[in-house]
Structure formats: C-alpha cells, structure tokens
Symmetry: C2
Subunit: 384 residues, 2 copies
Amino acid sequence: MFNFSYQNPTRIVFGEGQISQLATLVPKGAKVLLTYGGGSIKHNGVYQQVLQALAGFEVVEFSGIEPNPSFETLLKAVELVKAENITYLLPVGGGSVVDGTKFIAAAALFEGDPWDILAKKAPVTQAMPLGCVLTLPATGTESNGNSVVTRYSTQEKLSFASPLVYPQFAVLDPTVTFSLPPKQVANGVVDAFVHVMEQYMTYPVNAAVQDRFAEGLLLTLIEQGPLALKDPQNYDIRANVMWAATMALNGLIGQGVPQDWATHMIGHELTALYGLDHAQTLAIVLPALLQQQRSQKRAKLIQYGQRVFNLQHSDEERLIDETIAHTRAFFEQMGVPTRMADYGIKADAVDALVAKLEQHRMFKLGEHGDITIDVSRQILTAAL
Amino acid sequence: MFNFSYQNPTRIVFGEGQISQLATLVPKGAKVLLTYGGGSIKHNGVYQQVLQALAGFEVVEFSGIEPNPSFETLLKAVELVKAENITYLLPVGGGSVVDGTKFIAAAALFEGDPWDILAKKAPVTQAMPLGCVLTLPATGTESNGNSVVTRYSTQEKLSFASPLVYPQFAVLDPTVTFSLPPKQVANGVVDAFVHVMEQYMTYPVNAAVQDRFAEGLLLTLIEQGPLALKDPQNYDIRANVMWAATMALNGLIGQGVPQDWATHMIGHELTALYGLDHAQTLAIVLPALLQQQRSQKRAKLIQYGQRVFNLQHSDEERLIDETIAHTRAFFEQMGVPTRMADYGIKADAVDALVAKLEQHRMFKLGEHGDITIDVSRQILTAAL
C-alpha cells in the first residue's frame, strides 16, 4: 500500500425530504447564487423545495449551465457573482452544474485569466464557499474537489482540482432521481462504475480494504443499476445507486493505490469532438483499453473476474476474456453502446482524436505511464 | 435505507515515516500536552519520533493513561492542562489513550462536574482541539467522536460522544505496530471485527453499499488478522489491519442502517467487574448473542454466512449454525477464547453482571430494543 493523506470535509445529508435542511446548512446571512441547468428542476419540484428552504435568504439565480459545462457560460456567472456581491454558491443539479459551479467558485476570486486554472493548472489559492443539491447520481463531484470544464470555442475539455472547492455539504435525496430519463440513469451508473475501475483496475499493491470496497461498489452498481431502470420509483434502489456513485469518487477507494484515468482522458476527446455523453465515451473506451492492457492489468483483471463476476475458470486467458466481455455486456445491459460505430463515428475519427490527445500532451497515460499516443491509437482503433 | 447526515473531519495521514508530519499538522504556536500510556512508546522509537517532529513546539507530557482509561487519572491531566495553559492535546498510543484524551478535551472546558459528561450525558458544548498518533489498530477512535472511560472507584465503564472531540488528524504508521505483543494485535482485530458486526448484523434495510463495505472489512480482517500474527514484520498486512480498523468505526458503514451494540454494552460489564480486555469480552458475548438472536437476525446471518464465509447450504438452520461456529472459530484462531470459563469466570458471575446491567439501565438493548435484562441473562449464561 502507498502512503496517503486523506480528508473529506463534505457533510452528506442523505434521504427523502432533506432539501429542507438547506435552511440550516447554508450559512446565516449568505447572499446565495442558485445555479442550475436547463430547468428540469422546475418540473420535478426540486426548484420549489429549494426556494422554500431558502426563504430566509437573498437568492440570485443563474440558469443555463450545460451538460459538459462551458467556460464561456461560467464566466457570465462569475460576472454575476461580482455584480451582485454573492457570498455563497448553491448548485442544484447533476455533475455538470456542480463542476461548473466549482469553477465559478475558483474563478470569481482568481487574479488573472481564469482559463489559466484549467489550461495552465494555475494554483487555486482561494475560492468561494459552496454547498450543493445533487439531482443526478453519477460523477461524485458532490463530495470531491474536482471539476471538468469545456471551452466550446476550441473544443477543449479540461479539469482542475482543489481542496478549496469541495462542497461544504451535499444534499442527496433519492426521490429527486425518480423522474430522471432512463438514459441519464444509465449514464450515471456507467460513469460511477468506470470511476471505480480507474482506481481499482491497475496492479495489486496489497491494499485489501480498498480492493474490497471497490469490488463492493462494482457489485452494487451491477446489481442495482439494471433494477433502477426496471423499477424507477423504488426508493432503496435509487438510494443505493446514489450512495454508490458518491462513494465511487469521493477519494476514499483511491487512497494508497495506483490509479489509471486513461479511459477518462481518451474519452474526454470523444466528448469534445463528437459531443458524446461522458458515460458513453467511457463505455466505448474501457473495454478496448482493458483488452489492450490485459498483460499489465493481468492480476487485477483475474481478481475482478473472480470476485465481481464470480468467474472460476482455471484457464486464465479465458477468464480475462470473459471478464472483459462481462464488463462490456453490463454497459450494453444499461443501454449504453460500447462501440464508436454505434454512435455513427467512423474510422477517420481516430486521427482527429489522436491529434487532440497530442495537443493536450497525453503522452504517458495510465498507471504505468505506458499508454503512449500510439497505444491510445490502438485502443481507439479497437473501439471503432 | 434510513436517512442520515454524515461528516468525518479527521485527516488520515497514513504510512511509514508519517509521524514527522506532526511538525506541520499541529497548529503553529500550540502548547502541546503529549499524553500516553505505560511508556511502550519509549521502547519502540515512537516517542523519539514524536518529540523530534515537535521540536518547534512547547511540549508538556502526561503519561500513565491506563488500558480502559480511568476517570481518576484523566482528571489529573485536566488539572495539568489548566495549570500549564495547554492549547492542544496530542494522544500517542492506542484506543485507551485517545479515548482518555478526548475526555480530557471535553472535561477541561466543562462547567460543572465532568463526571456528568459520562453519567448524565451532559452535552459537550466545547472541547479542546486534538490530533493523534495511533500505535494500536483496534477501536477506530482515531477518526470518530466516541470515548469510553471507566471510574475505577465504582467499577463503572461509561461512554460519551461529541462531534467536538473528533481528532483533527490521525497519524497511522503501520511500522509502529510491528512490535506490538501478539495479544494486542489479536485483541485489535477482534475489536474491529465486532465493531463492523454491531453495524451490520441486524436486519436488512436494502443498504447495498453499507453491506458490501461491512462484508469487505470482515473479509479483510479474517484474511489479514491471522497473517499479522504469523508475519508481524510484513508492512502491507499491518497496513491492511490498521486501515480496516479505522474504517470499521469511523461512522461510514453505520450510516443509514440499524445498529446493535448490545455485545459492547454487555461486554463492558465483564471488563468493569473482572478486568477482561475489551476484545475478550466481545469474543465471549457475540457468539452467544448471535445464537440467542438468531431468529431476529436471520436474514443477515444468512447473508453474512454466504458472502463472508462462502457457505452455500440449502438448509438455512445449518447455514446459520455454521456461520456462528465460523465466527467463534475466527476469534479462537486469533487466540482470543470465547467462553467465560476460559478466563476462570464461573456461573455465579451471571447474577453480578446482570445486576450491573440493571444499574446502568440496560433494559432494551439491540437494534430492536428487545434484549431485556432477562435476555442478557440468557446470553451470559450461554457464554459461560
């Protein structure tokens, strides 16, 4: 096991009816910027619940944060924060709204061009406080310090991380997910699943607890994900998916172990160039990557196959083949296709994607740093 | 799943050599009270590492905190805190030293008789800040707000809890556990195991993540505990035991699920009256309690037997019998006997223990509140 230092300051307020807790969770006297996306929160009752809980606060609204939040839109929110002397940020939505609002929190107090936070990894030395209400379990952003933002003008999807942008609290009410479109439910489950895989499917360092927890989340998502599609009004199933997605990327399972993240880095280019949903890109890249990296990941692929899919073949090559096939089948079962062709993307895309990876200097991806541009090309070709 | 609100503010600083981080973890300018137990930290190098890291601080020492820390001793430390104008507490030791120092933190700022914190559950409204260096993985106290203190004069073992006494940081260096006596290693593993069971072995509420995490910790302790006894200098094994013990009682796996704790409550009386180690009392009480509560805990006993011990009998009564037998066998394998007779405690003890349970008003223990004094008597009789 590697050394680590871990602290997660986010208070999780979990359960039906908990949006009302905003009345005490938001600091007294705060002037709140309520940020959200396309307005779905106005149709499922969340917006009304939030405003009711915030009756004692001055609230300004900023809507229109896109899926894959855009740098351009977020800068408008930063202007509003300054013009209105906002003191607290409250994103209400899915991962994009929370990620985008983390960027607002950092950019509002950043001296210089905020693009540098993303493009030059300029250090974030201060940020506005924020808490969130999550409506879509998927990214884990409700309880971590990560944010991904896309500059639409240049099709660049980039990230930053800072302990200063952890939400102070995250309200997770599973009932608000009842009305999600099945596609978003499926995407969320696949996203959470791949988050676990990025921290688990590397090489063994004898980290028993981390491995068992990661496997527990994978087992949960494999079991509960399809049930959430079948029985969308079932509270416990929704609660299990929601809690699994938070635990998948609140940092805990990644402590003291190697991490990969090549699937995410390659996938980001698919979103930036072709507009695919984040989870769709992960479902495309991961199976191809596991196949290409099967010797480097051999020991963990076998462990994963045995413990998560209960495969018991003595022939290890066959076990690995079936393990990868089961992974692909799970994504397909969730309704997320796993080939670029399924999205109408053809072979000529590989060159364009590789060029973007080069532009973003993704020369040494993966836990060994051995996924070179050429290896990424092989993975993308295998994913066609 | 039940609703919950969870936050764990403790920073975990994990790994070999991390005691040196105290230099930056302890707030600048603090006047530190270094608390410890019988002095074993002077023989294994920990004391020297701590003092070296604290070279820039004024440090006062308080030693002699007992296993099952005594109210009487801790009050002396409170006097020292006041006399020396201490501003920060640094327990260095096992669960007793940390638990005891949490009580010092609360008692030093308590207005009135500090005994009320334990005996009358008087609310703790302020407490001194503390951070800790853990030398014995077992209780999880390094990352929670709980404390158990014994008043020696009256043989009363009582607890209190407050978010104000979470350690701000916990330094966990597995190498400092290399020199632990095997008995303490075994006790620690049994203690952590039963902490998980208290939060897991109740009735199902369809909390998939919590169940998988609990099972993951049980599997880890069953696998790594015996290895730690066999191969005491193996870093990864020690690291796995240490991290499992922290995760067992940092609150995470107990969120949103029913909890039991009857084994602890009954066990406390065995320690108070007969001086048994805490873990010994748990190893005695738990198997007898599982047998007595087998119908109330039926569904979870079956799940536990299948997922943790890989038992697959179609005869569920046999499966439950073997599950309880495996639990007892694991404690015995760790060298912790599971019968009162093994410790020279005879049948006449039952009346004395029951009288203590009555005195402490333990009338309705367990997740259903159905472990009455009479049921406790049955459990104790079965544990003879």
